[in-house]
Every structure is written in structure tokens, then in C-alpha cells.
């Protein structure tokens, strides 16, 4: 009565691994600023709950495996803003971006095949690629280069006969790197030369700051058959708990393969899809407002971070994360110190240790990721607590 080898080989989420210390700190009456997880305090637009409340059928019935048509249509209209033209059959609704990624790697990766991805990267890529029997091949990027990975020599050095796809999280989690259209064209050229899929995780699409343009791999028509877009309402509409995402692709074979997987789990929840359709119908003003809010949170977080002696950080161009090197040997130990020993006026702070964002052993030990998902005052205080904590830690 053993478990499977694959589940024994899995680890607990590195982002959620330290929760027990935070729960204990909170039980002891400490206030913890949660900069560790991408859970924004931005309000979910009211239209979500309004649409849900308007549901008046007597039976909460199965939805179609590919998604509610009202949601598929809303997603198609949303992409029209980017001059990208999908029809319903090219949109598969999923249980969040997580299921979208899981399905895509299940459909694309054979055991032993490789997926190229710039590190640091969102940890669950590791989970889903290894679950499919594949191998993560990292392209290491650095703060000093602004985490740029759109370089021919860097990417080509990672390609082997087993390479199956290039994964682009854009804007980047955890780096905040934003690709330009020219970056995307270069990646597209390489993908064409080596006949690779492009998995474009664009769940932070509109969160591109300092007059950077929100773009999509879907805009490049000559890549249409190889681009697989992963999307989600979680971040864009601050609706993480709705668990609504999608895969969008013009490759009919891929969409047919994904549909086979989707039929196995029958369908996504009906109510959340109806709410999500209302979110996708929001107009341009919503995006402008939210983007301005996150941009200002980034600015105060960065300003406050720069007050810490010895910190190394590049101001990110997008998404809502910031990577920073801290003047400690082991950020995990420092994090445990913050949650178990440190406090300032009864308050402390939590971040995500960066080690889990790297595939290369030994990288990230002195780095953290913070998510600037709290309001400006909270972000200022949260980063201040990191500074005060470091002072206490290093003078121990």
C-alpha cells in the first residue's frame, strides 16, 4: 500500500511552505503583512457577483466541457482589443490558469522531453512539466540584465533534440520582465527554426508599466499554429477565487487534444463562468485604473526597498512582483526569523524565498520575491518591516 513514486517525488508548494509559521504568528496576535502570495487586495469588480446573483435557473447543471458559450464569446471579444480573432472553438475554458498549464503540458510533453523557460520562473511550471514526465531546462537570467531572456544565444544554448517548447511568462512572474513585440518576434523565429511550441502565459497581460505596451503572442499571425496562450481572470480582475482561466490557440489538433482531456473532468463551474463573462466585458477604463494602482504600489515598494543597505533590485516593468537580493546568506532562515522572533509594534512581514523559482541548484538562496498586491501604505510598511527585520537579524 505504497503511494506512487511521482507523488513521493513532489514537494510542497515553496510559496505556501512557510504558512505554518505565519499562522502561528497570527495566532499569537502578530499582524503579518503578506507579501508572499499574489493575492491582491484590489476589489473584484462588482459585476462579477451581480452576474452570479442573476443566475436564475432551477438546476445548477453541467456546463459544456469547453466552457459556457457566454464566456467563450466574452473572451473572444476581449481579444479583439488586441486585433486577435478567435472563435469559440479556439477558446477552452479551464479551472484557472493552473489547469490550463497542466492540460497544455499533458498535451504537449512526452516523458523525457524538455521545456525551456527563463529562470527565475513561477514554481508550478516545475510541478506541471515534471508531472507530464518532462524536464525543465532553465535559461538563467539576472537582475543586472533586467532578467532579459530574449537573446538568441541564450535560448539556442538551451535547445536540444528533446526540446518541445519555449515557455514565456509575460509579463514575468516573479521577475516583472516585459517582452517587446521585437522580443516576441525573435523568440518566434527561433521557435520556427527548431519547430517548437510557444507556451505564452499572459495572465498579467495588461500590467505593463512606464508606457510599455500590453502585447500578446497572439498578435503575431505567422506564429498562429504554434502559439498556445494561457490566460486567467485571477490577476487581471482580482478574482483569484473564481478559478476561471482558458487556453487560446488556433492549432486545431491541439485544441482537439485538450478537449479530450477536458471531457475527463467534465466541465468548469457554471456560476464562476457566468461571473467571469461579465468581467471580460469590462471596458478600457477598468484596465487603466488597475494598472495605475499597481504602478504606484510598485513605485512605493521600490522606493522603500532602496532604503535597505545592500539590497540588489531592478525596478520591474510589469506584473506585480519584485525580486530582490538581500544581504543574508539564507533568506529562508531570515524569513523564519521574521515570523517567529521578530516584531515591530506587534507587526511582521512575509515574503516568498526565491529558491523555489530556480531550477538550477544553488541559485536564489539570497533572493526573495515580494508581491506588491497590498495598498500603498501596507506595502510601505511591509517593506519597512523587512528593513527593520534585517537590522535585527544581522545584529544578532
Amino acid at each position: 500500500m505504497e503511494l506512487s513514486n511521482r507523488v513521493n517525488a513532489m514537494g510542497h508548494s515553496p510559496i505556501r511552505r512557510f504558512n505554518k509559521y505565519a499562522i502561528e504568528a497570527e495566532a499569537n496576535g502578530k499582524k503579518v503583512y503578506h507579501l508572499n502570495i499574489g493575492q491582491p487586495d484590489v476589489e473584484t469588480p462588482a459585476c462579477f457577483m451581480e452576474a452570479v446573483k442573476d443566475f436564475d435557473k432551477k438546476v445548477v447543471a453541467y456546463s459544456e466541457s469547453g466552457g459556457e458559450t457566454v464566456l467563450q464569446d466574452a473572451i473572444c471579444r476581449y481579444f479583439e482589443r488586441y486585433d486577435i480573432h478567435y472563435d469559440r472553438s479556439e477558446i477552452l475554458v479551464t479551472n484557472g490558469g493552473s489547469e490550463a498549464l497542466n492540460m497544455v503540458f499533458t498535451a504537449v510533453i512526452n516523458p523525457g522531453e524538455e521545456a525551456i523557460i527563463a529562470e527565475p520562473f513561477y514554481t508550478n511550471y516545475h510541478t506541471f512539466i515534471t508531472a507530464a514526465g518532462g524536464r525543465v531546462v532553465p535559461v538563467t537570467t539576472k537582475a543586472e540584465d533586467g532578467y532579459d531572456f530574449a537573446k538568441r544565444d541564450l535560448i539556442e544554448a538551451a535547445i536540444t533534440p528533446n526540446t518541445k517548447c519555449i515557455c514565456c511568462i509575460n509579463p514575468g512572474n516573479p521577475t516583472g520582465r516585459v517582452l517587446t513585440i521585437d522580443d516576441m518576434k525573435l523568440i518566434g523565429e527561433i521557435a520556427k527554426e527548431h519547430d517548437l511550441w510557444i507556451i505564452a502565459d499572459e495572465v498579467y497581460r495588461e500590467f505593463a508599466y512606464d508606457d510599455r505596451k500590453a502585447v500578446s503572442f497572439g498578435m503575431l499571425d505567422d506564429l498562429a499554429d504554434r502559439v498556445i496562450i494561457v490566460d486567467s481572470v485571477s490577476k487581471r480582475f482580482s478574482a483569484c477565487g473564481a478559478r476561471v482561466g482558458c487556453v487560446a490557440s488556433k492549432n486545431k489538433e491541439l485544441m482537439d487534444g485538450l478537449m479530450k482531456i477536458a471531457q475527463g473532468r467534465l466541465c468548469c463551474p457554471t456560476l464562476d463562468q457566468i461571473g467571469a463573462a461579465a468581467l471580460y466585458n469590462l471596458d478600457e477604463a477598468y484596465y487603466d485604473e488597475v494598472k495605475a494602482e499597481y504602478e504606484s504600489r510598485r513605485d512605493v515598494s521600490y522606493e522603500e526597498l532602496m532604503k535597505i543597505p545592500g539590497v540588489v533590485c531592478q525596478k520591474p516593468g510589469g506584473a506585480f512582483y519584485m525580486m530582490a537580493k538581500l544581504p543574508v546568506d539564507d533568506v529562508e532562515k531570515f524569513l523564519i526569523f521574521l515570523l517567529t522572533e521578530f516584531e515591530d509594534n506587534g507587526e511582521t512581514v512575509m515574503f516568498a524565498p526565491a529558491e523555489g523559482f530556480y531550477a538550477t541548484e544553488g541559485l536564489g538562496n539570497d533572493e526573495m520575491r515580494i508581491a506588491y498586491v497590498l495598498n500603498k501604505d501596507a506595502m510601505r510598511r511591509g517593506v519597512e518591516l523587512i528593513r527593520l527585520g534585517l537590522e535585527a537579524y544581522n545584529s544578532k
Copy 2:
């Protein structure tokens, strides 16, 4: 730019495969009685939408990976009715019973290992077991024996050194077979002797008719470490579109392994969990009422089915499906005939061909499954249409 071998090897859902004919028939103005899918017309209890509408947080935030505590607690209280005592850590909330099954096989089955299951069985067992690299080993059961599989010789003949688990869908889909406590004890004994997991899919638990007792593998304390219960609100509360299920087990290692998988997909939808908690809080009267309704639907359907010359059918004891042998060589051809050529007063009917419910090649060609999920008049008319269709088909 190929797809993975595993996705190429997958088939489209045999239950949903004929939908295109039904959609076309409906587009041509025919009324189709859908006896093919387990989507009841029974109203979802109003408390579900009431609880959802009461949600008043400003942010629809991530839930915990293991589930909302309000739902875990409601599920624990529900199991107390059966004198089964779980705590929160023994309940993992999933995206429907489907995700529960998928996670369980991921956690239990290594490539090459075998899962024993009585055939005919719910088709997605094949999907999930093969996705985990495992092999379905069927124990063939027959209408003539009431689809009984709780026999030592039958089960032991299927056990090999690679056997990892025995799967029991109880009450059975598609057979309607209901295990007694003694049946379960026998299966438990065999599982102990051969050190196997017992995967107990009990999503139809309360739907046991003719004074049969609703039971659970969770009631047998000496099996506690090897029993994995899969549950769902879909059928019990007619809330298929809520996509809320769970795994319940007292095996701590298993629950820890499942939690690792669960963290990869972050969490289940928040609103549906809140609604589901209200469903689990319904009192005994709800179960009595719904059971009586399905029992009377079964009786009408069976009565009507018995009017068809040459049909072979055992009156099922539970769930809401009925298997029947029809006097045709190929029920799939007959089904296509019903949807494309036949009509009676502008009406026709759809069932699920049984072939997809068998792992053994060649079985089920002359069998169908109907779901008695529609009201009595609709069931009567639906089965009548099968009779009239058969007359037309066999006189062609």
C-alpha cells in the same frame, strides 16, 4: 511540433461523443429526451444559491488548497450521520468527483500498476487510470447476476503482483448495483490480504432503493488506513455544475501526497464551496424526498422498458442508471438512427452506448445505459421512444 503520445492515445468521451447528432436533431426542431447523461432535472436546493448570494467579501480571493474550512466542517458533520468521524485534515475538497479520482490515481498508481474494477464501469476510470500510466483490470459482471462483483473467486482471479487497488463505485454507475456491509467486509478482507488500497466512489451513497441501506466503506474501522472515499455534491444535491467534490481518508501519508498535488492547482472556487457547505447542512428529510423521487423514476422506467420485446434488464438497486441489452447488433448504429432518421411526433431519444463502460473488447455492443434523471412523464415517454425506435429500426 507534435502532441504528446498520451493525448493522441486518448479518445473523446464516449458519453459525449454522439452529442453532435443530438445538437443537429435539435437544430432541426426535434425534441430529444436526454437519457444519455447523468444530468438530473431535480432542482438544486435553494440554499445553495442563497449561500452564494450572501457572500459579501469585496475580493473573491484564493481559498485554501485543501478547501474552505466551512465546507470541510460541513462534510465532517455529514459523515457523522454514518458514525464516521473525520477531521478537517482528512477531507480534501476537489473540483468535483472527477478531480478527486484524477488526484487519487495520480497519488496511488505507478506506470504499469493495475487497478481492479468491476465492468461495466464509469468510463472516466479508464481516462484517469491510464493517464497515471496504470492499467484497468476488469472484473466482468453480468445483468443475469445483478452485476454482483463481491465474490472472492472473481476478485482474486484479477489480482496480480502489480495490483495496487480495488475500485468500488457504490451504488454503481452504470449498473445500479448496491453493496451490502457484508459485501464490503469481504472486499476489505481481500484488500487486507493482498495489501491493496480501496478506492470507494460513493457519490450516489444515499440513492439505495427498496429498503437497501445507504452505507460507506468509511464505516469499517479496520480498513481506515486503506480506504479512500471519493465524494461529490453533483448527484446527491443535483448540483453538477458546482464542481465540488472531495477525497476523504484517514491515511495521513495519502492526504499529505494529495495536498502536494492540490497545491499545484492552488484551490477550488470559493463561491461554489460556500454554496456546497449549505448543501451538506441539509437535513434527513431532503435525502428521503430525493430518494423517493428517483425510486419512482426507476420504477416507471423499468416498467416501460419491460414492454420492449427482447430487452434484457435487471432492475437496479441504486444510483440512477439502468443497463439494458437491446435486440440489435450494434447500439451505436441504432442510436445514430434514433437521432438522424427516427422521430415520433417530432420527438426522439438519446442514451449512452455501453461499449465505453467495458474494458474488455467486444462487450457492450448490444447494451445501452439510460439515466433516469428526468421526471416520470419524461422517462416514460423517453423509454417509449426507444421502443418505437426499435420497431422502426428492426422493420427497416
